[in-house]
Symmetry: C2
Subunit: 107 residues, 2 copies
Amino acid sequence: MVLMRPFKHPAASEFALERVLYALSDSIRLEIVRHLARVDAASCGELDGGRPKSTVSHHFKVLREAGLVYTENSGTIHMNSLRRTDMESRFPGLLAAILSQQTPSAS
Amino acid sequence: MVLMRPFKHPAASEFALERVLYALSDSIRLEIVRHLARVDAASCGELDGGRPKSTVSHHFKVLREAGLVYTENSGTIHMNSLRRTDMESRFPGLLAAILSQQTPSAS
């Protein structure tokens, strides 16, 4: 069995506004965050929309580095959750203002 | 005297959330928008922070294409203003939620 290394996550004090906005400036990443806002946690497989693993891994890395997503190993799968409390403490109202916007549904 | 072509600006109905977030994901562009939020209009020279014209022109293009900034020719200079009303009509509360965040001051 392969041991999976834990993922790195920035502390809330290290969050940068520009990085959060960049992370949410891509429709796939925005869709992942919208999905996570509706559930407690989800595996990468539940969130990838059938896209190639390499593509999706990159998007999760960008989301983690921005502080939006927390990923942990759960057996052999990665479970992801939205860091809603940390984001709210660092950037009050930001995530709600972004996720409340109407956007054309991603194809 | 050189005739300057008018700049292209998207209609509010064409604004895309991802594009707005991308435009604001850069600290120079965010600084320009913060400045424009405090004044009625400003020339590129007042907003460039002494940066090279080529660099700043690109940033203004990104801001215009996102719908954040309106640029018009005024004699031989370009005057820029924030499209606050259009942005508010398309994405209510978004700009205020972003600009209200505390960020480290840009160097």
